[in-house]
């Protein structure tokens, strides 16, 4: 019963969200609801604001000087921009994987253990070890690195590094995973593996993914949002966006006429 309920209530509700970088308006008046336990894809041409929108959900825009966010963003009904919300704690519930995998200059094990150690998630002896294994298994990397846990993480292949940073994010047990073009530096095989993984992960997590690849959005997402010049043009079921979009700009973009 609970699953059905959470599927009905949106994970995120954005109303009138605008983001400015200094004088530049990156996002304008966005209204969007993001469903839990599903994959939502954000597409649009470069500079359309899709990455900015993604970073609204874990308040990462605040690390950029001069960035201002306005509007309401509710996560499970709570305003995450309320003064009482600590962005540091918010980020433990909303994990993020970036375009370029950036493993810390430490061992594979220490990379995954980074978050749990930071937040004191594994107190008992051996618990951290189990948590690291669980996270690496979920990220589909365990079999490849189980004998190399003490090796420096930067020595892994790019595809493995991307799954490592995913495991690193999963280790602190978030509700949401944000992905900013996670496959853009991966080869087709590593991309296919990552997509299969996203398919698996959406059973547990709310996943929001920014992608440049329309084929990827069509393959993995349940709903797709098309952004253009900082505005949300169209937001619908993915198969509808790609077969029968209602806006001509969406039509033009997905058929490759611009962007």
């Amino acid at each position: 019963m609970k699953t059905i309920e959470t599927k009905l209530a949106p994970k995120f509700t954005c109303r009138g969200v605008s983001v400015h970088y200094g004088e530049f308006r990156a996002l304008h008046d966005i209204d969007i609801d993001i469903a839990d336990r599903s994959v939502t894809a954000l597409i649009g041409p470069s500079g359309c604001g899709k990455s900015t929108l993604l970073r609204v959900f874990n308040r990462m825009n605040e690390t950029i000087p001069d960035a201002r966010t306005r509007g309401t963003v509710l996560m499970d009904g709570t305003d995450i921009y309320a003064p009482s919300i600590d962005p540091v704690l918010l980020r433990t519930r909303v994990g993020m994987v970036f375009q370029k995998p950036a493993p810390f200059p430490r061992s594979v094990y220490d990379n995954v253990a980074y978050g749990p150690r930071l937040h004191g998630l594994a107190q008992a002896r051996g618990e951290l070890k189990r948590l690291v294994e669980k996270s690496l298994r979920r990220a589909g990397l365990w079999e490849e690195v189980k004998d190399r846990l003490s090796l420096p993480a930067p020595s892994l292949s790019i595809g493995q590094q991307q799954r490592l940073v995913l495991a690193r994010a999963l280790a602190i047990d978030p509700d949401v995973i944000l992905m900013d073009e996670p496959a853009s530096s991966l080869d087709p095989i590593a991309t296919a593996r990552l997509e299969a993984l996203i398919e698996e992960l959406k059973k547990r997590y709310c996943i929001i993914i920014v992608t440049h690849s329309m084929a990827q959005a069509a393959r993995i997402s349940d709903k797709t949002a098309f952004l253009h010049k900082g505005a949300l043009i169209e937001y619908d079921q993915t198969d509808r966006i790609f077969t029968n979009p209602s806006d001509t700009r969406t039509q033009d973009y997905i058929t490759g006429r611009f962007g």
């Binding site: 690390t63 993020m96 810390f104 200059p105 430490r106 980074y114």
Partner: protein, 412 residues
């Protein structure tokens, strides 16, 4: 007339090079190049022929000039400058003629220019290398002379240093003591005090500047701190002597202790302040160079700014920070002026920071200034000190490089 070969001859060589360049360039520009299929030397541009000609002319010209320079001393030439002048003008005609003859479609001037550049760079690198070897060789040579008079064991392990005692009184042996332990101990002790000041302070300054300061604060504070590095060390020296030393003495007196104005503490503190900008500036550069993606990755995992800093940024910047510290240590070891003024010249073997001590560099200055017989042990001791200091800094650098490389191999 025994003045050296006049300088204007070099000017002539320069003029000849320009001439060669222009003549050959003109010839090569008029060269009709058949459009041959496949790789061809004709792909060389007129500038390649011309550069080659200029370089060849310059090489011959400078060769004649240097030959003249070395021969004029022992052999007074009959023709005076005129003969050399003639040679300088006539002989370079050969390379110019050769270059003109080489202006052919099948002459690979471009390849030769490439090889010439490579050779030139290698020669310049060799100059730096040979200079180092020369200095080391001279140090070793003079130090060997010293160790004929004083046993190496006594020098390295002796705890008495008093080279001021007159030596060689009629060949009946020496009364000077050349145990270098107190001198080296003084150097390391003062370096230690200086690093205890400059290490933490410099690092904190770097972290503040790179991570917390607003761009405006940074724009003002960074140059202001770097001004510290521009103050002449002699100014630091009398700051230590006039201000810091007495302040330490007064503070000690207030606490009931009786200490001298000159102390290793005064010298070390002031030296520490002097090398703060060295540590902070270099560390700031390496900390700023840590990729933003690493910081973002840590922030997205719910780390606070200071957690990201200590657990990710600092770790990534560590090789560079070690490098900065080592440069600072070398600077501290080599520093002389502050120590002369603030720490005294007494070769005490003491770990009490309120005692006067002396350092290797100060002793080298003391040994080599004044009227000295050059081959006396007293003078030669300076070379022995220099040699040991050189070996120590060398080992320090090698060790640090090894640490940094091991770290790099592991994590890059």
């Amino acid at each position: 007339m025994s003045d050296p070969v006049p300088f204007y001859m070099l000017v002539i060589v320069g003029a000849l090079m320009v001439g060669a360049y222009r003549i050959v360039y003109g010839r090569a520009a008029r060269l009709v190049v058949p459009n041959l299929p496949g790789p061809s030397a004709a792909r060389a541009q007129p500038r390649h022929h011309a550069r080659l000609a200029a370089a060849l002319t310059g090489l011959v010209g400078v060769g004649i000039y240097l030959t003249g320079l070395s021969l004029r001393g022992p052999i007074p030439s009959a023709g005076g400058d005129g003969l050399w002048l003639m040679a300088l003008i006539v002989i370079p005609a050969l390379p110019i003629a050769l270059s003109i003859a080489n202006v052919r479609p099948d002459f690979a001037a471009r390849t030769h220019v490439e090889r010439m550049a490579e050779t030139g760079l290698m020669l310049l690198a060799l100059v730096a290398l040979l200079t180092t070897f020369g200095i080391v060789a001279s140090l070793v040579f003079e130090a060997t002379l010293f160790f004929r008079d004083v046993s190496i064991i006594e020098f390295l392990f002796g705890t008495q240093w008093s080279p001021q005692t007159p030596i060689r009184a009629g060949g009946t042996g020496q009364s000077g003591a050349f145990g270098a332990v107190p001198v080296f101990a003084g150097t390391f002790f003062i370096t230690l005090i200086a690093m205890a000041v400059a290490g933490p302070v410099g690092l904190m300054v770097a972290i503040y500047l790179s991570e917390y300061a607003s761009p405006r604060t940074r724009a003002i504070a960074k140059p202001a701190i770097e001004v510290l590095a521009g103050i002449p060390t002699v100014v630091y020296g009398f700051f230590a002597l006039i201000t810091v030393g007495p302040a330490i003495r007064d503070a000690a007196a207030w606490l009931g202790a009786d200490v001298a104005t000159q102390s290793s503490l005064a010298a070390g503190l002031v030296m520490g302040v002097m090398i703060i900008p060295l540590v902070s500036s270099l560390s700031d550069d390496v900390i700023s160079a840590v990729p933003q993606s690493l910081r973002d990755g840590s922030t997205a995992l719910g780390a606070t700014k200071s957690e990201t800093l200590t657990r990710v940024v600092f770790r990534s910047a560590l090789p560079g920070i070690i490098g900065a510290f080592l440069l600072a240590i070398s600077r501290a070891i080599g520093e002389t002026m502050i120590v002369v003024m603030a720490a005294g010249r007494a070769a005490n073997l003491s770990a009490n920071p309120f005692d006067a001590v002396t350092t290797v560099t100060v002793q080298i200055v003391a040994l080599l200034t004044g009227d000295q017989v050059f081959d006396s042990p007293r003078t030669l001791a300076a070379f022995a000190l220099g040699l040991v200091l050189f070996v120590i800094t060398l080992l320090l650098n090698i060790g640090a490089l090894a640490v940094v490389n091991r770290y790099r191999i592991r994590f890059e």
